[in-house]
């Protein structure tokens, strides 16, 4: 076996001689690498899971009333249209629906009613989004895992999240509304359970109850005043043209409606995620800065303690560059060991935090997610090496005679 470079051997032995000090210095790098890698993995996993879910509805345009505020944040349509029902512009009218249909050409267009309401089943109470659409749209858009679509006003189908949360089965009774609700309480029977759809633009059915139109308008009124209209485009390449055409037809004078596709939602989510991520990265950066300072400190100590040794090395013919290399290696060893430990811990800690924050580790081993570990390692090791440059430079420029005189 070939022995390593003698300069590298000296660096290794120096690290080993001051093992405790070196380990403590490496600790900062370990923490920094874990922080950077974990944050990166959380962000990548969130983006991957959201993208995956949204791509299922990438061909859907969502047309919603333009409340005038310009809209911001997540603007999850269908989620919360309640609260401002007295605003006369806060719905899409039948005429507008017809216009959208015309502008959308051969695409499948359907309207959606939605309200948020309290529900009660068994001993549990909670809230859910109540949706309604026409019968044709229901069979076209929604898939059941069990049971059948509602055919009377006392029948509903229900999303899988609610099923899981309240232990609902086909045949269960659900009471919609509060005791002191102006609309009173209505008890309906679950006839079907919806397939899981995940996060999507068009309709958040996982946490929703789908009723017949007759039930919905009977309970909440507002017949022909739709919360949202969805356009399912046949050819995804046409989606921008159709969005434009709807926008031109309906927003001639005022901005009456907002037309969005899932890429908009993805943009919003990634920019929000980006903000959170850069904030978290700033914190990780601080931990790396602390690490850099401690490496710098350790390296300066190492140089100071070894002044005489540097003098000996120089006097018997060690070049400046070799002294420089010796101390850079020392910083690099600390950095690489720290980064390596950080990488292993990132796998474990990252897995746990991704599960905690994203809710799934389905994408944990995806390239985009795991790539954060080598990225964190490189950043950590580089910071170490950079912190070692000045001490190493100092060491290499010591005057050999002065250095030999040191005690």
């Amino acid at each position: 076996m070939k022995k390593p470079d003698i300069i590298f051997q000296l660096s290794m032995r120096s690290v080993r001689l001051n093992l405790l000090r070196s380990v403590l210095a490496a600790l900062g790098i370990v923490i920094g690498v874990v922080a950077i890698a974990s944050i990166g993995m959380i962000s990548a996993n969130m983006t991957l899971s959201v993208t995956e879910e949204l791509s299922a509805t990438a061909n859907v345009l969502v047309v919603s009333p333009d409340a005038g505020g310009g809209g911001g944040g997540f603007g999850m349509p269908g989620g919360g249209s309640g609260g401002s029902s007295d605003d006369e512009d806060d719905y899409i009218s039948d005429d507008q629906f017809d216009d959208i249909r015309k502008a959308a050409g051969s695409s499948y267009v359907y309207y959606l009613y939605s309200e948020s309401d309290s529900i009660e089943t068994g001993d549990s109470k909670g809230r859910a989004t109540i949706y309604a659409m026409d019968d044709d749209a229901m069979t076209e858009i929604l898939t059941l895992t069990e049971g059948s679509y509602p055919s009377t006003t006392s029948q509903v189908v229900i999303g899988p999240d609610l099923v899981e949360r309240y232990g609902i089965v086909v045949g269960s009774k659900v009471t919609i509304g509060d005791e002191d609700d102006e609309n009173g309480q209505t008890t309906v029977r679950v006839t079907g359970i919806l397939e899981e759809r995940g996060m999507s633009m068009d309709i958040s059915s996982d946490n929703g109850i789908i009723t017949t139109e007759k039930f919905f308008t009977g309970r909440y009124g507002g017949e022909g005043e739709y919360a949202q209209v969805n356009v399912v485009v046949d050819d995804i390449d046409e989606i921008d043209a159709i969005a434009e055409s709807i926008d031109e037809t309906l927003n001639k004078k005022d901005d009456e409606v907002r037309v969005e596709d899932s890429s908009r939602m993805l943009d919003t989510i990634s920019s929000t995620l980006g903000t959170i991520t850069s904030f978290a990265l700033a914190i990780a950066g601080i931990s790396l800065l602390v690490a850099a300072v401690s490496i710098f400190n350790v390296m300066m100590m190492s140089v100071t303690e070894r002044v005489r040794e540097i003098g000996i090395l120089r006097s018997i013919g060690t070049q400046k560059g070799e002294i420089l290399r010796m101390f850079i290696y020392e910083a690099a060893i600390i950095g690489i060991v720290g980064a390596g430990i950080g990488a292993v811990l990132s796998l474990v800690i990252g897995y746990v935090v991704v599960f905690g924050m994203v809710g799934t580790t389905e994408y944990f081993f995806a390239l985009d997610s795991l790539a954060n570990i080598p990225e964190g390692m490189i950043v950590g090791a580089l910071i170490c090496i950079i912190s070692g440059v000045y001490p190493a430079w100092r060491a290499s420029n010591l005057d050999p005679i002065e250095a030999l005189r040191a005690e």
Partner: protein, 224 residues
Amino acid sequence: MSSTPVIALEDVRKIYPLLSGDVHALDGVSLTIEKGEFVAIMGPSGSGKSTLMNQIGCLDVPTEGTVRIEGQDIGTLSDHDLTALRRDSIGYIFQKFNLIPLLTAYENVEYPLVLRHRKYDDSGRVQALLDSVGIDSALAAHRPSELSGGQQQRVAVARALVNEPAILLCDEPTGNLDSKTSRQIMEMLADLNRQGRTVIMVTHDAATAEYANRTIQIQDGRIA
């Protein structure tokens, strides 16, 4: 062609500029040493002996005058070339032994060889040298801190010889040793000189200077 002296100093001055006034550590030293000489340099403390050794040893360059090592003017050399000259042409033996604490005795001797040839020794030369100064392979596996002063100085002698230098520089080589060990080290140096090596040695001790063929007295930075 007459042979070039190994060392030739011509009106060498070394001035340390201090706030309290310039210190003329060397004040016009001219000196020629031929190959194979054994020269002792003596003089009171602060007279400039170490400064002179530093010039000859290429650890420093003079403020004025020229120092030639094997005919080469060291004042014209870069730091890189001076360092290479120290590695290849000069062997140092210091009062404080100056072994590298992180390396074993064997590795200390091997180090200048590895620096020079960029590969480890596979000829057995390192251990042969150690054997010749009385350090067996078991002892050679120890770090300097585990060796006695005499043993450390033997290792230092072996290290100084490993690159076959033209000049052996010894700054008070026996200053930290008891008289018996001192004699052994001096015998070793005298032996090396008899084999043809040029030896220059700083010493306080007249008995030690006896081993040399020539003694130079230094006083206030001049040859007395």
